[in-house]
Amino acid sequence: MTTVTVLLFARYADLIGASRVEVPESASSSLEQVVAYLRGLPGGGALPERPLIAVNMEQAGFDYRPVPGDEIAILPPMAGG
């Protein structure tokens, strides 16, 4: 089964207990679906419904359809400085 790799950071990684999650292809036809999948994981219910998402280090919209090789990252609100 093909999967899409999602990177999690900071509080989101804490919530799910992992900094990297493999999402089955069946649940990754759009970023919206990917987030729904993550929110269904144990601890994932505290993820926001519409987090900031980067694909290949560029911000991406919820309707984006992941393709193999994409680096998808779910980003908590930025807190540098």
């Binding site: 950071f9 509080r11 207990g17 280090m57 990252a73 540098g80």
Partner: protein, 149 residues
């Protein structure tokens, strides 16, 4: 020069990097770990980042500033554990005149805070920890004790 650093930030090195005989105005912003946040006493904190994207975002912000003002800009953001008083971020802008140096420096720190994927976990005097979240009421989100280090 620009980017992330696991070692203490050398502000003088940044100043040196942007200085030049035609740049008479050097404006620096240095963000230092404070001993309090949102009414709680902070003991230390830890910065983490989505490294490659953060480095790239910093590079884009510097390029924007250098395109908009006749100034040279250097930025370093620290990662890892920091004690009170340590430098978390430094931005140095050098230009021919002070207006452009002030404006470029301010622009870069504002954009870094908004656009660079860096996160901050604070440890407080009462033993609790939290993630700083500028969008949350109170400015933080509790951190799971089981993942505390």
């Amino acid at each position: 020069m620009n980017g992330l650093s696991g070692d203490p930030v050398d502000v003088d090195a940044l100043v040196h990097a942007v200085s030049g005989p035609g740049r008479g105005a050097v404006v620096s912003f240095v963000g230092v770990v404070r001993n309090h946040h949102a009414g709680r006493e902070v003991l230390e904190l830890e910065y983490s980042a989505y490294g490659p994207m953060a480095e790239r975002a910093i590079g884009v912000i510097v390029a924007e500033a250098e395109a908009r003002w006749p100034a040279a800009v250097a930025v370093v953001h620290r990662l890892g554990r920091l004690a009170i008083g340590e430098v978390a971020v430094a931005v140095v802008a050098a230009g021919g005149h002070r207006g452009e140096a002030f404006e470029a420096c301010r622009y870069v720190i504002e954009e870094v805070k908004q656009r660079v994927p860096i996160w901050k976990r604070e440890r407080y005097a009462d033993g609790r920890e939290a993630w700083v979240d500028p969008t949350a009421p109170g400015g933080t989100q509790p951190a799971r004790p089981e993942v505390s280090r």
